[in-house]
Symmetry: C2
Subunit: 201 residues, 2 copies
């Protein structure tokens, strides 16, 4: 076995060592609390090498999660358009990603997050910092309400992905995306912009 274990630039081991240190840092200290500097120290490399391999902290985080796309590229498709249909657009984009080849990575990630506290923390950080915080900024949601609204949206989308792609409960598992956009879009819209305390029995 001639496998090298050194941490020299250009070695696949260096990239992997950075990812291992980054996963640990993001899970333990959260996205905001983990710095490139501390991740580099954990991997025993120079911070410049982290930037060289992965670019920004955002991009490093996506790499640790094996997310095969950059949520920032999808964001304009959600936020551009009539504000009262942002829920429908969010559901449409979400279904599009899960129904695409990237969906397999989503299934693996969700399975892992449900069984593993560490991955759950990473997924939580991903959802909060990469998606919800940006949608809330774009919508100018009252900051005091944004976290609850965001976690309600997450509850519906995580549930839709789980029922459709993991539990495969019919007919939702094979319902056409636009049927779900019409059914679930108003829910997401309500969670984002509706009155959440309206009286019910």
């Amino acid at each position: 076995m001639a496998r090298r274990t050194g941490r020299r630039p250009g070695s696949p081991d260096t990239r992997e060592a950075i990812l291992v240190a980054a996963r640990q840092a993001f899970a333990e200290r959260g996205f905001d609390g983990a710095s490139i500097r501390s991740i580099a120290a954990g991997a025993g490399v120079d911070p410049a090498l982290v930037h060289h391999y992965f670019g920004s902290k955002d991009q490093l985080f996506l790499a640790t999660m094996n997310v095969p796309f950059d949520p920032r590229e999808l964001l304009p498709q959600i936020t551009d358009g009539p504000p009262d249909a942002i829920g429908a657009r969010l559901v449409r984009i979400f279904l599009g990603v899960w129904d695409s080849p990237a969906g397999a990575a989503g299934v693996a990630l969700l399975r892992s997050a449900v069984s593993n506290e560490w991955t759950a923390r990473l997924l939580r950080e991903f959802v909060v910092t990469q998606i919800m915080r940006r949608v809330a900024d774009q919508l100018a949601i009252d900051p005091s309400q944004a976290p609850l609204r965001a976690s309600l949206v997450a509850s519906q989308l995580v549930g839709m992905a789980t029922v459709r792609h993991i539990l495969k409960l019919e007919p939702l598992a094979s319902t056409a995306p636009e049927v779900l956009v019409a059914a679930v879009g108003p829910t997401v819209q309500h969670y984002l912009t509706g009155d959440l305390s309206e009286a019910v029995g």
Copy 2:
């Protein structure tokens, strides 16, 4: 090791053998397709013994799922009362079960269903035959729409349980139940009785 493996009445092995055969039958043929007779044959016992140990097929099914309560006892609490607040009542009862000691069994079941195709099938059968079918009957929902409505309700409730009790995404993980009843109740109500095809952008 003096452990007995015989299938005699009164032996703990008999009860376990019936549960093993029942899990397999329910997962392979579904709740409706699995008969007490075939389960008894699979376990190598007399059908009367299955009834002796577990009572009805419903009760045997609950035992295979380790469900620590009988959904039929909760059903009147959901269906009794104003029809336009059934969504709120369903969310309230659901949260009550998950926040109770029985919630630990729910977390274990959901974790298992997400990682294991067999348990996923059992959970699917449980949700459809023990809960959704009964709620749909009580509400006299158009039978052609009932399955989609039921799986939409499941998507929201499974998602709420996952985000609150497994991913523990804040603030939803520690939000007071009545706040969630007010926020999520209207969603469930919409899925059960609303117009699911209203035009959205």
